[in-house]
Amino acid sequence: MIWVDTLVQGILLGGLYALFAAGLSLVFGIMRLVNLAHGDLIVFAAYLILMGVTLLGLPPWIAALIAMPLMFGLGWLLQSAVLNRVLGKDILPPLLVTFGLSVALQNGLLETFSADSRRIPAGSLEGASLDLGIVTVGVMPLLTFASAIIVIVALNALFYHTALGRAFRATSDDAVTAGLMGIEPKRIFAIATGIAMVVVTIAALYLGMRANFDPSIGPARLIYAFEAVIIGGLGSLWGTLAGGVIIGVAQTFGAAVNPEWQILAGHLAFLAVMLLKPRGLFPRAVD
């Protein structure tokens, strides 16, 4: 019975990792850019929400809603002012710029908010649980997982059923030809990064409400997100969810055997998938 419980907790944890990964997956899919500051941006958004809660006294949901347009603006600005300048055939410049951003952001947060771990207070939700008969699950993990599914459904709808989504796909396939058809790739990229930052804000809300966070935890979140994207296969958002679930389940099983093995088990699951299926489980894009 304890194994069923571990499995369910792992699947739900996977929802959180899928949320971390969805923004990364979106940006990579459209402009082949891996943002090494992705994890730090999640932590940054968590502090933004926390400020809304502590300084303005807002409930976390409202604070996140206010943070979303701010983060969209930040993403838009980051893309149009910095990243668009370094995108090109050579992958080194964007990689190094986002790495610089990661280190700068991490230490900027450290100076502003100190190394103390913080948490977004979620009131009665924090300890609430649902008895499902076989297992008891926390309301918060359940909400996280549901949000991950909603985010993926929404992103897929945006991608395949709107004019903007068509522009995204066209630019992803061939930016030059898309430009001939009246699409401005740089503007599309800026919007895409903005949307990724909105997803980052949702991920940050759950990151901050579920557990303590501090400025140094960004890179580890980036790694989990990256592993989920790779396991799922590039370009498939549902694959990313599956990847997140695999990492989550591996981690909870690892932790059930020995608490020290939690993180290690997740990484080993990733390496095992890499060994068996180098292109991920559900590859869509060809790179």
């Binding site: 891996v34 910095v82 080194l92 990689l95 710029v97 700068a104 890179p219 980036l222 790694i223 990484h267």
Partner: protein, 349 residues
């Protein structure tokens, strides 16, 4: 009569200056304080790591964010050699190189399946896995780490002679020995990379960097080239890691596998100095050290500044400071370009 050469006047001058600097560096411990020697040790080891990362990323196109794996495994292999096998720490440093090489084989096997940016994070994952596995190794202190035993640090090869020569205490003698070894290592690594770039392998590397398809069409085996560069860099990084932790004589998984110290700093040095040149890391490490000394009292502002400078350099001077200098003056201190020399051809160009 006609021959291909890479020799230039600037190159010859560099060689003379380099030899003079190294010769001047040898007796330095006699006239400077222990603090200066420690600073120089730091500069030399960071320069070595920077040259190696530059070889990977600047010449080989392999942007690794996981070089801390090789620093860490090299350092731990050195500690294992001393603590478990009772080797002298100086010989155990060689073990660090071997460990780096051995770890590089499975790492390359996994990471080479990933392209570009994914390669970068893939190497990072492997470094994390290595750190977590080493933290399980209880004989070497597990997660909290351990120190070199007293009997080992007091018997390091050559320290007795150094103590007698300079009349210093044991710890200072270890610093001097480490400094000399770092000087040796930086000369071997920089000289080795320069030699490599002038060799057939270097020509192949330049060809792949400029146009990978064209290089393959004339028979350059790009896969084998990547393996060669990755293994060489890993082994030398392992040696450097072992040397760094022989000097500190204390190790922990978090320190030995620190992404900030062994990869972030190194990347900033190379980027600020100028990626894809041997001069770049040298300029970069000087700038890095000056910034570090100037901003030492400001804690994390220092790292934040470094990050921002790296972004600015990447945006406005992607070839780094040395790129600016070299494009203005046409100066190449380590020339690798092959030129045809010989008597002037009558009526020719």
């Amino acid at each position: 009569m006609y021959k291909l050469t890479t020799r230039t006047r600037a190159g010859t001058t560099t060689a003379i200056v380099a030899v003079a600097l190294v010769l001047a560096g040898l007796p330095l411990p006699a006239v400077t304080s222990r603090g200066v020697i420690q600073d120089l040790f730091f500069i030399l080891t960071m320069l070595t790591l920077a040259q190696l990362w530059n070889l990977l990323a600047g010449y080989g196109g392999l942007v690794s964010v996981g070089q801390q794996a090789f620093v860490g495994i090299g350092a731990y292999a050195m500690f294992a050699g001393v603590i478990l096998a009772g080797w002298n720490p100086v010989w155990a440093i060689l073990l660090g190189g071997v460990a780096g090489l051995l770890l590089a084989i499975p790492t390359a096997f996994f990471a080479f399946r990933l392209q570009g940016a994914y390669f970068a994070i893939g190497t990072w994952v492997i470094a994390e896995v290595t750190r977590l596995l080493i933290a399980q190794w209880k004989t070497l202190g597990g997660g909290t780490g351990t120190s070199l035993p007293r009997e080992a640090t007091s018997n390091i090869l050559g320290t007795d002679a150094i103590r007698a020569l300079f009349g210093v205490r044991e710890a200072a003698a270890r610093d001097i020995l480490a400094y000399w070894l770092a000087l040796l290592l930086v000369v071997i690594v920089t000289g080795g990379i320069y030699w490599l770039l002038k060799s057939r392998l270097g020509l192949a590397l330049a060809a792949v960097r400029d146009n990978s398809e064209a290089a393959r069409s004339v028979g350059v085996d790009t896969g084998r080239l990547k393996w060669a560069v990755f293994l060489i860099a890993a082994a030398a990084t392992g040696l450097t890691g072992a040397l760094i932790f022989m000097q500190t004589a204390r190790i922990s998984p978090d320190a030995a596998f620190a992404v900030t110290d062994w990869t972030a700093y190194v990347i900033f040095i190379v980027v600020i100095g100028g990626i894809g040149t041997i001069e770049g890391p040298i300029v970069g490490v000087i700038v890095f050290f000056i910034l570090r000394s100037a901003l030492a009292d400001y804690g994390s502002w220092y790292l934040m500044t470094l990050g921002v400078i790296a972004i600015i350099v990447m945006l406005f001077a992607p070839k780094g400071l040395w790129g600016l200098i070299s494009s203005r003056s046409g100066l190449h201190l380590f020339p690798v370009r092959r030129r045809l020399t010989g008597p002037k051809i009558e009526g020719g160009i």
